[in-house]
Amino acid sequence: MSTATATTSASAESLERLRARANTLRRHVIDMLAIAESGHPGGSLSAAEVVTALYFGGFLRHDPRRPDWPDRDRFILSKGHGVPIQYAALAEAGYFPVAELRTLRQVDSRLQGHPVAGTAPGIEASTGSLGQGLSIGLGMAMAAALDGADRRIFVLLGDGECQEGQVWEAALSGGHQRPDNLVAIIDYNKFQLDGAVEDILGLSPLAEKWRAMTWAVREIDGHDMSEVVDGLTWAVDHDGPACLVAHTVKGHGVSFMAGDNHWHGVAPSAEERARAVDELKSNGYGFRGTGEEVWP
């Protein structure tokens, strides 16, 4: 296994900043959903460290001023219901004003309830019908190979999503085609809408299933920023398709949401929002450093 090398770009932030960033993004998620009065907090919060590391840890080579730059790396959020955490990252990265996050899920907004390619800048694929993102990523990886370009393709899947047959079509295909620029990440938070994954349609041992498809697999703690950064570094350095199984907790970062599947698809009330934001502020929110309060 290779160790961390210079494959990450110069814009990588320190672990300390990344940890604070993750909670900044979480805070946006809470505010967005509370204002929209709908959305999926649990699966947005569980992906916060992974999404933060991708956008701010130097793994995704992108340019918010040129979202159509042909040689940008691609990030596909296949578990589309977690899009609030991606919108938060895109806004913080500068794709659109942070204030626009307030328009989530409203008529005429660019921030649709699930990701829509070509609507909000920085969204690469239309998802929300589970199971489809890895196939789209395979097509992008094939295009990069045909162009002789070293574009990286990252696809974030949900664990419940891995119950979809198309995921395994794509996993089998990736194992056969062996693109060396494709990374699948599983947000393994152990819950799906109706309950525990292991009760409904068990995936365990999930890493073994991906290994059986001949992907290289690493399991990480998806909330330990150091492990997330090391895992992504390993994945992008690896020749051939790589899969990171990120063990996470649904709702992580907000104590009353963590591990409680009630918060799969329920927005916080005004009072719950205030409690959650207080907690996140005490855990690193404020990194932005401008002192600007963007939320009403």
Binding site: P70, V116, A117, G118, E124, A125, S126, T127, G128, S129, G131, Q132, G133, L134, S135, I136, G137, L138, G139, M140, A141, M142, A143, A144, L146, D147, G165, Q166, E169, A170, L172, S173, H176, Q177
Partner: protein, 329 residues
Amino acid sequence: MSLAPLYPGLEMGRATRDAYGEALRALGEEHEDIVVLDADLAKSTRSWKFGEKFPDRFLNVGIQEANMVGMAGGLASSGKVPFISSFACFVILKGFDQLRMAVAYPGANVKISGSHGGVSVGEDGVSQQSVEDVALACALPGMVVCVPSDERLTLAAVRAAYRHQGPVYIRTGRAPAPLVYEREPEDFGFGRALRIREGDAVTVIANGMLVGAALVAHERLAAEGVAIRVLDMHTVKPVDIEEIQSAARETGAIVTAEEHLYSGALGAAVAQAVSRTHPVPMEYVSLGDTYAESGIAQDLLVKYGLTADAIVEAVRRVLARREAAAAAL
């Protein structure tokens, strides 16, 4: 077994799927951005003709229609022009949600070829006979849906599909089809019907294999002094509303003919246009609301009423209805 007995007076050509493969290969010479995917039916869809010439830009994804459609979405969003092929019932039905999310919704520049349309697939039976695909493809916003009638029109349609920016579905057939055109039509364009016979009594609006049948019906009815107009409505979506309006206004009755279920395809598209602008009596030649069965193609087309005879009968029915309506006034 040749279908020639069903099309007296017409020369038999090759299957439209053969023309698809050839057109693709020729286009590949001109355009390096074309990438072709197939789901283990390349020998049957004829996409192997491209793959043989351009192996680096051809991928047999295996028996995975959903994954193939998703991959095409990713290729298109990275600037490629993917042409994906399978049997019509597999790529459209098994790939439908993927066509919705990865192709139609983002308006991806993906070209879909469904071969083995209709019951003329023959002996393999219902599982391989696609009879719902045109309706489903038409349901997708922004999708161009084309059902070419012969090999020459197919060449033009495949070239037009490359030129068109956005998703296109081309449905081809397994069986050799009667030749409708002496040469490739120069004035081909999606959404522009080709008026291939003039007439003022009734207009027959057909596509696919039924265009040849309409030409035979035209000769037969002409011998009785009934001059029917024949439109090759190769594009079901966007349908040629102007030609339909003219047909309704000038001939006063319409028969549609297609190798597809009654619902949601050519008959429905024409009826919508007619009802909005110039209501006239209509009759429909189609498979109706049923599945067919195994059998040789000729027997199936006859049994399920997809022949020149069926068109002649439909023309007589619609003329009788129009006369009855006139008499009641």
